[in-house]
């Protein structure tokens, strides 16, 4: 049996031997130290396996840290860019709105200058307070010279007539309302009738002569005989002719020129009878026959 003391003495001897070997290795000439690589290379190969694993893990950690840091930065940048985009979108929308308003107002101004009647420009500020009438509220009233029964036009043509005028606003009943009726004229055939709205939001011209040669596509204009409209303002085009047996008159459906869902600015004709000379075509539509000024005989 080996005693504890002898083990301690042996251990001390091993330590001394190892120390001696290390010192001896340090003191060995450089050429001899190469011989140690015989043991070192296979050992390095073995160690390289976990080393690569560690390296991969380190790179992953590094990448994650970098990505996190980059994300932190990108998040701030992204937020700033989003705010910038939102600002630009708002500005873009505002500019588009301004450009559209400018175009609309320029067209309206051109129309106002070309129309030979005194007109007042107004802005649409609201719709009818019930669902039963198709009317709009405009921001001009009696203080601006408006009164009931005055005709209202846009760049597309006639859109309605004023039914109620207050000091600072007025109610305009649109042409596609069932309760509205104005005198109209088929431009090509010169047949007169009554234009009134339909329940579907379209319009119809009634009381055309039975022998009229009116056909689909004919332009209908205001006749200027009654109401607040001068002669020749475009209303719409005929889309369907209704010939019913045992009826003394024809009627026809009209597709209105103006888009009634998108009316924003209008001109109110304050004195339709004071016409001098209606220009060839002040509106955006193309008539088949030149317009005639109000009061001129056919």
């Amino acid at each position: 049996m080996i005693s504890l003391q002898s083990i301690a003495g042996g251990k001390r001897a091993v330590l001394l031997l190892l120390l001696f070997l290390v010192v001896a290795l340090l003191l060995l000439p450089e050429s001899r130290q190469e011989s140690l690589m015989v043991i070192g290379r296979p050992m390095a190969t073995v160690i390289a396996v976990p080393l690569r694993g560690m390296e991969a893990a380190n790179q992953t950690i590094d990448s994650l840290v970098n990505r996190y840091l980059a994300l932190q930065h990108m998040r701030e940048e992204n937020l700033a860019l989003r705010q910038h985009i939102a600002r630009l979108q708002q500005e873009n929308a505002r500019l588009r709105e301004t450009a559209q308003a400018t175009t609309r107002l320029r067209d309206l101004l051109e129309l106002q200058e070309r129309l030979p009647y005194p007109t007042v420009a107004a802005q649409v500020i609201g719709l009818d307070s019930t669902n039963w009438y198709r009317s709009i509220v405009i921001n001009k009233g009696r203080k601006n010279g408006l009164a009931a029964d005055m005709g209202v036009v846009t760049t597309a043509g006639a859109v309605g007539r004023i039914v109620k005028a207050y000091d600072r606003f007025a109610i305009v009943l649109l042409l596609n309302d069932l309760n509205n009726a104005i005198t109209g004229l088929v431009q090509r055939t010169r047949d007169e009738g009554i234009v009134e709205g339909t329940e579907k939001g379209l319009a119809r011209i009634k009381y055309l002569p039975l022998l009229s040669t009116v056909k689909v596509g004919d332009q209908v204009v205001t006749s200027g005989l009654a109401g607040g409209f001068p002669r020749g303002l475009p209303i719409g085009n005929i889309t369907k002719i209704e010939r019913r047996e045992a009826e003394l008159f024809l009627s026809a459906e009209i597709a209105l020129d103006a888009d009634f869902a998108k009316i924003e600015e209008v001109l109110v004709i304050t004195a339709p009878r004071e016409s001098a000379q209606l220009p060839a075509n002040p509106f955006t539509f193309q008539p088949a026959v030149p317009l005639t000024p109000a009061g001129e005989t056919r």
Binding site: I125, G126, L127, D128, S129, T130, N131, W132, Y133, R134, S135, V137, V163, K164, Y166, I171, V172, L173, L174, D177, L178, N179, E196, E199
Partner: protein
Amino acid sequence: MKVLGYAWLILLLVPLQVVLVDRISLFGIRPDLPLVAVCLIGLYHGEIDALLAGIAIGFAQDLFSGGVHWGNLCLKPMLGLIAGLASRNVLNLTGGFAFGLILSLSVLSGTVMYLLKAFMGPGESFFFAARGIILPQACYDALVSLALLKLLQRWWASPTPQTALSYE
């Protein structure tokens, strides 16, 4: 104070209906906020308040309508009166009751408006009016009134009254 509140309501309600309500229109149908307001006044404050508010609100609404007759001036007080009388028989105002009542009153209002229009001028077919205006508007009015009622009940929810027994 109540008069002042009604005055503000009348001043704000009709411009709101004319200018802003179009933004929440569904298929071209807008809720009749004055009708909803008059009915809710009737349900909450009784028939006299609703009758008086209905006259003022109906008159203001007719000012901003393309119609030449004063349909709302006649109708709105009547609707308020009916709503006020109906509320007398109710112990607890529930959403279902308010929904049903305002749906019925809106249908009644639409039918009377249709008849008024038909008597006064060129009338559209009742089927078209019922399908296109009366029923959709009644549903919309009832839904809006239900939402407003829930809001009002939440805002004005009073705490349980403290009685002597509460402190025992």
